[in-house]
Amino acid sequence: MAKSNKPIVWGLFAAGGTVTAFLTPALLLLTLLPAFGVMPALLSYDNLRGFAGHWFGKLVVFGILFLMLWHAAHRLRVTLHDFGVRADGLVAVAVYLAAATGTVATGYFLLRI
């Protein structure tokens, strides 16, 4: 049987889509609340530094953002095809490279906290 990297690509896409489906609306609610006079304790500088300063917090944030990035990148590749862009090879390199760059940036900033 021919080897294919499709299961890995699709598996990460599905994992990212699931994580996003469960968490993104609540995350956006959380960051919207201060504008409406409710300041969640986690969003204070000291508390968030404490959370992202711990290795477990870093791991959680890194895993979530990596999966979300991969999900968005893979779906964008398909979406661009649906919008009539037929240069799939080029699109694939661009979107996965962007996701990889975002992942590296996430790790870099997490390590600086």
Binding site: A21, L30, M68, H71, T79, G84
Partner: protein, 132 residues
């Protein structure tokens, strides 16, 4: 070459095909959510950058989120995020059917379980973040 003449090929517009049916349009709306999910992750990466730069940078970042433009953008992203969640959970019976013996678990049970999980995860996240 077909032995039975030229086969009929229906003309399909390469760019505007999804305006032909509400079903295609819903599909495209679902796919386009990825642009807003990607944008949201970018904003979260900026949050990590500002957090690593110190207290002043973080407070300036929070002020930007709370500005009228920041609120409008987050509302827009929230709308697309909710559409992603509902469209994602609504197809779970097709994506991962659950077979028990000879029968399949009814789709409404699988979808319902995901919506319940979504509610629990959202409340838990807000609770752990100290909202209530």
């Amino acid at each position: 070459m077909s032995a039975h003449g030229k086969p009929y090929v229906r003309e399909v517009s390469r760019y505007g095909w999804f305006f032909r049916s509400p079903r295609y349009l819903r599909y495209m709306a679902r796919e386009v959510t990825c642009v807003f999910i990607g944008l949201h992750v970018l904003i979260l990466i900026v949050a990590l950058m500002r957090l690593s730069e110190g207290r002043e940078a973080w407070d300036a970042y929070l002020a930007n989120l709370g500005s009228p433009a920041g609120v409008a953008l987050q509302m827009l992203m929230l709308a697309f995020a909710v559409y992603h969640s509902t469209s994602w959970f609504n197809v779970t019976p097709k994506a991962m059917p659950v077979q028990i013996g000879e029968n399949f678990l009814p789709g409404v049970v699988i979808v319902g379980a995901h919506y319940a999980g979504w509610l629990v995860a959202s409340v838990a996240l807000l609770f752990l973040a100290g909202v209530f």
